[in-house]
């Protein structure tokens, strides 16, 4: 009797033990699903910023939008770090990226990390991130806009148009005003987003100078000297997370887009040749720091 009672107790103990283990395992599984390991999404702005209209080519604002949307949809991603290594690009594409990042900031922390350069349109887009990191010698700034002056077409009887600027959209003076308006928008964006941190006047900023990271920090154009890792850590901190993973959103989006096929992605037609620095820009207005003009014979 005594032996059978002991066996019963052992059986009950094993039963409860099994129940505890099973519940524990099930709970762990459920917790893994319900409380996923957090991640910091990484968006790389490593090319001239431009717009294709539909395609997800390198540097296209459509690719960046897809990456931002991917971050939004992924419950694990609690913060995004945007790594800038870009001289800027088209005006509207740069402004789109800025606005998309601002919208994302309403949902999760968006931190900026400048690698070698965030010039012109890339710095404009970086105003959608906060805080902003850069290396001591990163190239930062180049606030301003430029473009090729449209020709002043004379009226003639070969081409008939409904208005004087129908063909060119502008003339020299109007174009200059347009340029000035974009510059003011850019300056207003920087002054509003950097706020009291900015220790440089809008007039000085409009010179279009490129500042080294250390100087940019002194002028309040960035917040910290640090690396991408520092930016990722800060992003996780702002999101209140730890023990996170990092998700390369560009790779993920391209993998999804090409569904496992070998990715062959175009670069912009106006992109600089990495070997020669030469480029042929299509007509337009640019928030572009044309680095080949710096020190190029």
């Amino acid at each position: 009797m005594g032996q059978s009672s002991q066996l019963r107790k052992i059986g009950i103990l094993l039963l409860w033990g099994s129940i505890f283990v099973a519940v524990g395992l099930v709970s762990w599984g459920l917790a893994t699903q319900l409380i996923p390991r957090p991640a910091v999404g990484l968006i790389k702005v490593s090319y001239e910023i431009w717009s294709t209209g539909t395609d997800l080519d390198f540097g296209s604002v459509e690719l960046f939008q897809a990456e931002i949307e991917s971050a939004r949809r992924d419950p694990r991603i609690k913060a995004v770090v945007v790594q800038f290594d870009s001289p800027g690009g088209e005006v509207v594409a740069s402004q789109t990226l800025y606005l998309e990042l601002q919208a994302l900031r309403k949902e999760m922390p968006v931190i900026g990390a400048i690698g070698s350069v965030a010039g012109s349109g890339a710095y404009y887009a970086a105003m959608g991130t906060d805080p902003l990191y850069a290396r001591p010698s990163s190239s930062v700034g180049n606030v301003g806009v430029w473009g090729y002056v449209p020709p002043d077409l004379a009226v003639n009887d070969v081409i008939l148009a409904s208005g004087p600027f129908k063909l060119t959209g502008s003339n020299r003076d109007e174009f200059l005003r347009e340029i000035e308006g974009i510059k003011q928008e850019f300056l207003a964006t920087v002054t509003s987003q950097r706020g009291a941190r900015l220790r440089i006047s809008a007039e000085e900023l409009s010179q279009g100078l490129v500042y080294p990271g250390r100087e940019a920090l002194r002028l309040g154009l960035i917040d910290y000297i640090g690396t991408l890792s520092d930016a990722i850590a800060a992003a996780a901190q702002q999101a209140g997370t730890q023990h996170y993973t990092v998700v390369d959103l560009e790779a993920r989006v391209l993998d999804t887009y090409f569904q496992g096929e070998s990715a062959f992605v175009n670069t912009w037609i106006g992109a600089a040749d990495p070997a020669t620095g030469k480029r042929t820009l299509p007509p337009g207005i640019y928030l572009l720091y044309d680095m080949r003009l710096r020190g190029t014979p």
Binding site: W16, R105, D130, L176, G181, G240, T241
Partner: protein, 701 residues
């Protein structure tokens, strides 16, 4: 009870698992709170002002003068750019003429009262600089304007890539400074901008008159320049910007005038051209300033009291008066008729008279033989005319009177001219200019009536070659009729030489380009082209010259890189001198080099060797680079060998200076000097340079 406890433990386990996981991943502070994103201040955007175009009624006051506008220096402008200024000048009764380099600038300036130089991209030659300096010294007005947006036009640079040419234009500032520097004005290769207060764009800068009113800034409150160079000068700054105006080059400087009045208000230098062109001349008070510039240019302040100023030193009515003899010489009537036509072409009338009319401008002609009449005329100008007979005692410096063939002693006349001394009137024509506030006279006195007629022709042709000048007096040789020269209104193309130096002459070694310019500039219109500074000359750059001197310099260099090859390939007509120690683009079997220390003059009567003696040994000056010179292979040269390597040089006897003629080629005559020209002794260098230039020029005559 136990079961309940176990169930509670079970729930605790579940809770612990969830809580633990949550704290593991999300226990790092509070959850993210979206920040308040600052909106931009929309009122600060889109406020770029429009340009303030103003109506202005020009009220021209009749002026006078003859304004010459330079278009001979690859000026980066169109005739349309000049329209507003040109129409203002014409409204003031000023004659506007364009200088395109068909004649030398000094010739073109005879008539001018003002010269306008806008956006030149080729530096002025030393001859042109001298002409402009003399012009301004004589009271001529000079208006200079450069513009940062008007660099050397791409078609005049060697840059083939249009986009590169747009981004990296060749500055035209050195070209402008080649003139401006003569008058203590320096243009900076910069542009002015204002990021604080500007007119729609940082480089559209408003300026206000600097302290003190000048006629050029009267009633002008604000002018707007559309990218302007800054300048430095001891002259008067006409405009100043506000303290926020900055230069792209002169960091930290605040004295940045964009307009200067220099050289006793005879030189106006402006840093912007756009403000003179339509429609930008109507912005702010630019139009008023433009009218003031036209007023300033329409004042003839040129002092004309020299023989070279003929006929422009005269007023509209001039008398031709024979002051000696009872009857007017018929030859003078003929020449006078020619002169009349010439005078009419310059807006003057010439009347043949027998008597001087007081207060009339006059051309007085006479013979030394009419002693009494002429003596008085000469005495008025401090010149003594002495008639000598055999027994007269003369100063030791004066020659004795000659004896005639029949043994009689002919009276001889001598002139005593201040600064020139005493000299016989034989073969002499004397010109005396006598101008005062009321009238101007030119007196011509010669030995014979033929000489007087020739002198009138010489005057009409502006031919004063071989004449000596002392103050108001000019002495010319009367022997033979002077060569017919083109009249000012019918100019012949000037003999132009382009000296191309393959290297810039820096770093302790040199070219001979400057030597050529100095030696030839007095006779020919010489332009210098330095390839490292000016770029590889294009076909257009090489048009219009009679002779090309391509100096490869005294440098160590590789054959394949020699830009001389490219330059000579682009020459479509004209003759060439190739010179230097560098590789020369000539057809020789193989390129060998050896030091060269001396030369021997070949035994030939070639015109290039005029002034040198056959067999003469010429020891060369030391080379500054010690670079060996090219050896011309004698077997391959079908041409006249003029100089050979001397006994102290390797390959003695090899040609060192050769001249070839090929009537079938674009380049008919070519001279090759396989040594640096600067190493020749100075006298030989000059003799050879003049001989070579004359021989190469002669082909075109």
């Amino acid at each position: 009870m136990k079961t309940l406890i176990r169930l509670l433990l079970l729930l605790s386990l579940v809770a612990a698992i969830f809580a633990g996981r949550w704290f593991w991943f999300y226990g790092n502070g509070p959850a993210y709170q979206p920040p308040q994103i600052a909106e931009i201040q929309a009122d600060k955007v889109g406020g770029a002002p429009t340009l303030d175009h103003r109506a202005f009624a020009d009220e021209p006051v009749a002026g006078n003068g003859h304004v010459l506008i330079d278009l001979a220096h690859h000026n980066n402008l169109t005739r349309n750019d000049l329209s507003p200024l040109q129409s203002r000048l014409e409204a003031r009764g000023v004659t506007v003429e364009f200088f395109n380099g068909d004649v030398t600038l000094s010739y073109a300036l005879y008539q001018a009262t003002a010269l306008i130089v806008l956006a030149p991209s080729v530096p002025f030659t030393s001859g042109e600089q001298k002409a402009i300096a003399a012009f301004v010294k004589d009271g001529g007005r000079l208006f200079l304007a450069a513009d940062p947006t008007r660099p050397v036009p791409p078609e005049y640079t060697a840059e083939d890539d249009v986009e590169s040419a747009a981004f990296f234009p060749t500055s035209a500032v050195p070209a402008m400074n080649s003139v401006a520097n003569l008058f203590d004005v320096t243009y900076f290769d910069d542009y002015l901008y204002n990021l604080d207060e500007n007119v729609g764009n940082y480089r559209n800068v408003a300026f206000t008159p600097a302290a003190g009113q000048t006629p050029l800034t009267q009633d002008v409150e604000t002018v707007v320049f559309f990218a302007a160079h800054s300048m430095r000068s001891a002259g008067t700054a006409l405009f100043k910007g506000d303290p926020a105006v900055a230069s792209t080059v002169r960091t930290g400087e605040t004295d940045l005038p964009p307009a200067i009045l220099a050289a006793d208000a005879r030189v106006l230098a402006l840093g912007d051209i756009t403000c003179l062109t339509a429609p930008y001349h109507t912005v702010a008070d630019n139009d008023r300033f433009l009218s003031h510039i036209a007023d300033w240019l329409a004042q003839d302040t040129r002092v004309r009291n020299a023989l070279e100023d003929f006929p422009y030193l005269f007023g509209p009515q001039v008398d031709l008066v024979q002051i000696s003899g009872d009857r007017v010489d018929p030859r003078l009537i003929t020449k006078g008729g020619t002169l009349q036509t010439y005078f009419e072409e310059t807006g003057r009338s010439l009347t043949l008279r027998t008597d001087v009319v007081p207060d009339h401008d006059a051309l007085l002609v006479g013979l030394f033989s009419d002693v009494e009449t002429v003596k008085a005329l000469l005495a008025q100008n401090g010149i003594t005319l002495t008639t000598v007979v055999a027994e007269d005692t003369l100063p030791a410096v004066q020659p004795k009177a000659e004896q005639t063939s029949n043994g009689a002693t002919a009276p001889e006349q001598y002139l005593e001219i201040p600064a020139l001394g005493a000299l016989s009137v034989k073969g002499i024509t004397l010109f005396i200019v006598d101008c005062n506030a009321e009238r101007c006279n030119i007196s011509i006195v010669a030995e014979t009536a033929e000489s007087v007629a020739s002198a009138v022709e010489r005057l009409a042709n502006h031919n004063f070659v071989g004449c000596a000048q002392a103050g108001a007096t000019t002495l010319c040789a009367a022997e033979g009729a002077p060569e017919a020269q083109p009249k000012a209104t019918e100019p012949a193309p000037a003999k132009r030489i382009l000296v191309i130096s393959v290297e810039a002459g820096e770093g302790g070694v040199r070219t001979s380009a400057a030597d050529f310019v100095n030696m030839l500039d007095d006779i020919y219109a010489v332009t210098r082209w330095t390839i490292p500074d000016d770029g590889q000359p294009t076909r257009t750059d090489l048009e219009g010259y009679a002779v090309y001197i391509i100096d490869s310099g005294d440098y160590a260099g590789s054959l394949s890189d020699s830009p001389a090859f490219q330059a000579i390939d682009r020459i479509s007509s004209g003759n060439v001198l190739l010179v230097g120690a560098q590789p020369l683009p000539i057809d020789t079997a193989e390129f060998e080099y050896a030091p060269i220390n001396d030369l021997v003059v070949a035994n030939t009567t070639h015109p290039l060797l005029e002034g040198l003696t056959a067999g003469e040994l010429i020891t060369l000056l030391p080379s500054e680079s010690s670079v060996p010179a090219m050896i011309i292979s004698g077997n391959d040269v079908e041409s006249a060998i003029l100089l050979t390597r001397g006994p102290n040089s390797p390959s003695t006897g090899s040609p060192a200076l050769v001249a070839a003629v090929d009537e079938t080629s674009d380049i008919n005559r070519i001279v090759v000097a396989a040594f640096p020209f600067y190493r020749l002794p100075e006298s030989v260098q000059r003799t050879l340079a003049l001989n070579i230039a004359a021989w190469l020029m002669a082909d075109g005559d």
